[in-house]
Amino acid sequence: MHERERLAALAPVLRLRSAVNAAIRGFFLERDFVEVETPVRVAVPAMERHIDAEPAGGAWLRTSPELHMKRLLAAGLPRLFQIGPCFRHGERGDRHNPEYSMLEWYRAGADYRVMLTEIEALLRHVALAVRLRGEGALKVQDAIFTRPWIVESVRDVFRREAGWDPVADYEERRFERDLVERVEPSLPRDRCVALVDYPAAQGALARLKPGDAALAERWEVYAGGLELANAFSELTDAAEQRRRFKAWGGERRAEGSAVYPLDEAFLAALAAGMPPSGGVALGLDRLLMALAGLATLDDVLPFR
């Protein structure tokens, strides 16, 4: 297909994206959030166990706006959201692109349960705002978001679909394999599901559950089986955060992956005090896929 025809065919989904972004902004501004912009080119990318940053001329492209947004949170801005590009090296497939659009928001005083209520309200709001926006072959799948959501613990879904307890008998490779091969294919196609309470080792930047250190206060929302958003009750303990960064750095070094310097400015902000907060990161390109009923980012992104 020629370039002009290919792009013209994407017009309905481009118009849908524009409407989705407007609905998201309306939702957060109504709730007294501040829209912020933080650096895209960063001196230190957030170290995570399995995320690789793209080098950018002596600096890096951000893999997420998380650490800068938390510094704003620590400085006293209680409700923040941001829409912008993030970059991850080597991630390319039907559901991944090395450059993608992220919606990220933080709410001081909240935990992951509050954030689950908020994302449900957000996605219902967006789905209803754009439900009549379908044009031509594009039918907006608003019912995926407006049907009652299912909330299930990671432990329960693994016991049912994979036959073992990933909290008591955690094993990284087995967990990730069964998540992809057994759990995710079992998720309903017609609605949203939140998987909650991950094994502590899958906690990333989440705090551990008060009273049960085997669990991390993290959830993932799937829309019609497509992984859409991740949330934490944010880790606010600077010493624990430093320990996790160092542990991931050690594991990354051992397997030959790039090791990034510690983000001391972020760690100092945590040490000076960040309020208990909830945070959510949502892949906007995937939200478009789910809303438009498309199976690949090829049909969402005009340029890949």
């Binding site: 399995h50 990730e176 992809v180």
Partner: protein, 191 residues
């Protein structure tokens, strides 16, 4: 092995060396669950024997760049199960019948082929898509197998290969064979 690929280089159509054998990636699917590690789900087709397998690779898995070379050669002659080919510099290469498979029946003198070498050993011979062969044996006007809708009868070409042909094909006729499938394609009318 001449260099390395990492799992991040994998894509449909890439040729890699894995467990000392050359493969072409025929299906590729990247998945990365939540905060987990990247998984590269691939179907690989072995370039030596055409067998396929499904494998899930990890970000730090590495592959060799297979030492593959394609050469245009011409068929000269055979000595039993050994088939002798010659390149533009008149260098000879002997290719056994096991590598050629049924292709050996479709060769003719001076036939131009593409030979794929892996680690300097011939592993695949690609013939012209269509070759012409003379029918050595077939029953005249025999009633053949009509089950598939195409009415055919068995025939044998000079050199011994058997294939189904339409009823109107007679001994001494020249036919075109599709070397990709080994099937009858057309009758060649001689004036």
């Amino acid at each position: 092995m001449a260099g390395q690929y990492s799992a991040g280089d994998l894509r449909k159509g890439l040729k890699v060396e894995f467990e000392k054998r050359p493969y072409v990636v025929t299906e590729f699917n990247f998945v990365k669950p939540g905060k987990g590690a990247s998984i590269y789900n691939c179907r690989l087709k072995c370039m030596l024997d055409g067998t396929t397998m499904q494998r899930a690779f990890r970000a730090n898995d590495v592959f060799g760049v297979p030492d593959l070379e394609e050469k245009t050669m011409r068929y000269s002659y055979n000595e039993g199960d050994n088939y002798i080919f010659m390149d533009v510099n008149f260098e000879q290469t002997t290719i056994p019948a096991t590598v050629l498979g049924d292709s050996r029946f479709f060769l003719f003198e001076d036939c131009e082929v593409t030979v794929l070498f892996f680690n300097n050993n011939p592993v695949e011979v690609t013939l012209p898509t269509f070759v012409e062969k003379v029918i050595a044996e077939t029953q005249p006007g025999a009633r053949g197998n009509t089950a598939a809708g195409n009415v055919t009868k068995p025939a044998k070409i000079v050199g011994g290969y058997e294939l189904p042909v339409p009823l109107f094909v007679n001994e001494g006729d020249t036919i075109k064979i599709d070397t990709r499938t080994g099937q009858y394609s057309d009758r060649v009318l001689r004036r």
